[in-house]
Amino acid sequence: MARVELRHISKRYTSVQALDDVDLAIESGEFFTLLGPSGCGKTTLLRTVAGFIRQDSGEMWVGGQRIDDTPAYRRNIGLVFQDYAIFPHMTVGDNVAFGLKNRRRPRQEIAERVTRALDLVRLGGHAARLPHQLSGGQQQRVGLARAVVIEPQILLMDEPLSNLDAKLRIELRDDIRDLQHSLGITTIYVTHDQEEALVISDRICVMQGGRVHQVGTPWQIYSHPATLFVAAFVGAMNVVEDLPVGTGGGLSLGASPRSMPVLAGRDRVTLAIRLEDMSLSAPGDFARDDVLALDGTVDKVSFAGREAFYRVRLDQGSMIQAHVHRPERRLLEQTGARLRLILPIERLHLFDPATGLRIESN
């Protein structure tokens, strides 16, 4: 258990800035997730913390101690790999015992701790098996037991679930979260799966191009994305890019022009709204001040059981997606129909088209 501070970490490869001044503080016992598309720098950052990559500049502090010059094998950091990295020539028990043997613990203690760790990941009684006799999910449990048995200061996980099928992924995801809670171990978790990140994390750090876009709780990330990139990457979002803004923040989009004070003094704005934040209504309905009303034609309806997705071609030209919870049958037969989309203004996300930064209303 330890607080982790990453201070202004940068790493450059010949042509790519892999990490660009990453500055993060991770609280003791926190489940902290690095989220981003492939190539965003999240794995580079994780491997830098683990000690396999040396940053060009910046400092790393764990539990009040600077670790930059500590070699990887002296860092006392648990690591869980995407491809499990189980030693194929050792039994499950020997895999889990490996770290304790490196630390020269007494034989009796090793045996007890290995048994406890395997029980913890629900693999009690599998100690004598060889890795190839285990399923992928079981192998990753061994990887987890092997990483936590050394009681590391921090636990690093590099997309540990991405090689598993959907059902196992959800099961092991919950197990990882429970295990982390009960051990109270500071954890840095890397994933590109935004839903996984939302479910599992205390806080999420969204990265792109080696830069941190936003750090926040899952709620903050989802409902107040700090940049257009975060808005588009986490959850599904409709984006209407680069709209002209009239004098005094006037927005001439859709049936009724609205004036938004927050936009006063700006030329252009990018609008975004979540699929589920819109509602459908008949043309001509609604003329309230707190909504935007956009007219269009239904282009396609996709039924997915408990929900349906509407693709609507707006009269203004762009396509927009809307999400309908528990759709009724009659709604599904409306391809070609005219309708009006209602966008509550308080649910709109506004971004500066030039910088991609959120425009806050206060």
């Binding site: 040396r54 094998y73 690591l79 990295a85 030693f87 194929p88 092997r146």
Partner: protein, 550 residues
């Protein structure tokens, strides 16, 4: 890791590897090159040696003949190897594992054994010639180009066969079925789809056959009947009784290397952008042939493989015949063995000692360099990788000459010692060990070692506890294959040996030239037994089996 030069264990290995290559490869080859452009008497720089090779009909003939032998050996190997590969992978052939094993045995047996066994069969007094003439079939004389090409084709076809068969086995049947569904008949499908897919493998096998044919020294000097080739010319020029001609010998060597390089470059160019990595969902299933076709197919396969193994069988048989000098008597005996054990026990001991010593060096440095190439990718290790391609294309005769030119004067005067032979075997075979250890490592995920390090193992301990145990079967297989090639090495040893340091292949070669077939056969049988045993062990520990040998 790439950020700065760190003076750890692996940087030490890298530096050591460069030193070894500089001393044992770059320096000797540089010496040969310098000698090739130096006038023997005045010591001045000249292109006279090369002018003489192009100008003098005898030397020009050697270049021409070498090209014929290389091309002919290659085509012969393809002509035999490709049909065998197609038949054994596409159709049900009984005992195909036996065929593959016999092909491997033919491959690893020393080439000059084939040469003199064929003389015993088809030479002017050969029993097979007598037998065929009795049946009214007159054969062309075995001595000369025909004999050389016969021996090379039957000796080197396994390269083409094993590589092609392994490539054919990894073509997804869906690809061929797709061709068929698009209207391609069997022949069109084979030439338009299957063959292009295995072309990289076929051409690698063919390349090996070419380079080995052109580099081989024993076969043409035994069965060549005076045909001049570059390899034999270089040897003769260098060892001539009345003061050799080192300048011309070196120039001949340089031409030999140049030809091999051109061919390697051509092959690389031909297979560029041909790295076909298919995902294999299904494996091809061999089809059952109709009865008469099956008989023909079996006949062809077994005839090829038996012809390839015939020399070894003849040699073993001959070693147990009663003999006095060059004359064979009716009946069997172990006289030949008694004779060699009495007369040349040190030769047998030398062969095993030198090969074992060379293999020990090869395994240690080869494993470490292989690790460097795969796990510590840097500009320096990539350079090392490219440098290690050189021994593949430098014929043994040339390397032997280069060693003599370089190491018979201070600072490193080691000609006539056992060390020079061991070092020669070491540098010639090091690249093979590096390549095999690199390919094993590529199959071991890098994360495994990082896992060990994150659990508190130092890099050295992680290597020893995790990586090394996983590499071990591959290392042992690689070591045995190095042993096989080391103990059968003739051409370079023939240049480097003195009486004390004579090895079995050298003794066999000299006995054959003396007509002492009994002694030669007994020594050859010992070589074959050692080789066969090593092959057996490789088969037991390697899951890739035959393909491990190419």
């Amino acid at each position: 890791m790439m950020r700065r030069l760190r003076l750890d264990f692996w940087s030490g290995v890298l530096v050591f590897a460069f030193v070894v290559i500089a001393v044992l490869m770059a320096w000797p080859l540089y010496s040969i090159f310098v000698a090739s452009v130096t006038d023997n008497r005045s010591g001045a720089m000249t292109i006279g040696n090369f002018a003489q090779i192009l100008g003098h009909p005898a030397y020009r003939g050697a270049v021409f003949n070498s090209l014929i032998v290389g091309t002919g050996g290659m085509l012969g190997a393809m002509l035999i190897g490709i049909p065998l590969a197609v038949l054994t992978t596409r159709f049900v052939i009984a005992g195909r594992d036996i065929l593959a094993t016999l092909a491997v045995l033919a491959l690893v047996s020393p080439p000059f054994i084939g040469a003199y066994a064929w003389i015993m069969m088809l030479g002017s007094n050969g029993w097979m010639r007598a037998w065929l003439e009795g049946a009214g079939i007159a054969l062309p004389p075995i001595y000369g180009l025909f004999g050389i090409l016969l021996v090379f084709s039957l000796k080197f076809y396994p390269f083409v066969y094993l590589m092609t068969a392994s490539a054919l086995g990894s073509i997804s049947p869906s690809v061929e079925e797709a061709a068929e569904s698009l209207g391609a008949g069997p022949w069109r499908r084979f030439f338009k789809v299957t063959l292009p897919l295995v072309f990289p493998a076929v051409s690698s096998g063919a390349l090996l056959a070419f380079v080995l044919s052109i580099a081989d020294f024993g076969t043409p000097s035994i069965v060549g009947g005076g045909v001049r080739l570059l390899a034999t010319t270089a040897f003769d020029l260098f060892t001539a009784e009345m003061g050799g001609n080192p300048g011309l010998a070196s120039a001949t060597s340089v031409v030999l290397i140049a030809i091999c390089m051109v061919v390697v470059v051509l092959q690389r160019w031909a297979v560029r952008r041909r790295d076909i990595a298919g995902s294999l969902v299904r494996r091809p299933t061999p089809q059952r042939l109709r009865p008469y076709a099956a008989i023909v197919a079996h006949g062809v396969c077994y005839a090829i493989v038996l012809a390839g193994s015939l020399p070894s069988l003849v040699v073993i048989y001959t070693s147990f015949r009663k003999t006095s000098g060059p004359v064979f008597h009716p009946g069997f005996s172990v006289d030949s063995y008694t004779k060699i054990l009495g007369e040349v026990p040190h030769v047998i001991a030398n062969s095993f000692t030198y090969s074992t010593a060379a293999v020990a060096l090869i395994v240690i440095l080869g494993t470490l360099i292989g690790y460097l190439l795969v796990r510590r990718e840097t500009l320096a290790s990539a350079t090392l990788d490219n440098l290690l391609l050189i021994p593949y294309i430098v014929p043994g005769v040339v390397m032997g000459l280069a060693f003599v030119v370089t190491f018979n004067v201070p600072p490193l005067q080691i000609t006539g010692t056992a060390a020079i032979i061991v070092l020669m075997l070491f540098i010639r075979r090091l690249p093979y060990a590096v390549r095999s250890s690199a390919s094993i490592l590529k199959q071991i995920k890098g994360g495994i070692e990082e896992a060990a390090i994150s659990l508190g193992a130092s890099p050295a301990r992680a290597f020893a506890k995790v990586t090394l145990p996983l590499m071990l079967p591959g290392i042992v297989a690689g070591a045995l294959m190095s042993f096989i090639t080391a103990i059968n090495e003739l051409s370079s040893s023939l240049i480097l040996y003195v009486g004390r340091t004579m090895t079995m292949p050298v003794r066999i070669y000299l006995s054959v030239l003396d007509g002492q077939f009994g002694t030669a056969s007994a020594l050859s049988t010992i070589l074959l037994a050692a080789t066969g045993l090593a092959v057996f062990v490789v088969f037991r520990i390697s899951d890739k089996k035959e393909s491990a040998f190419v």
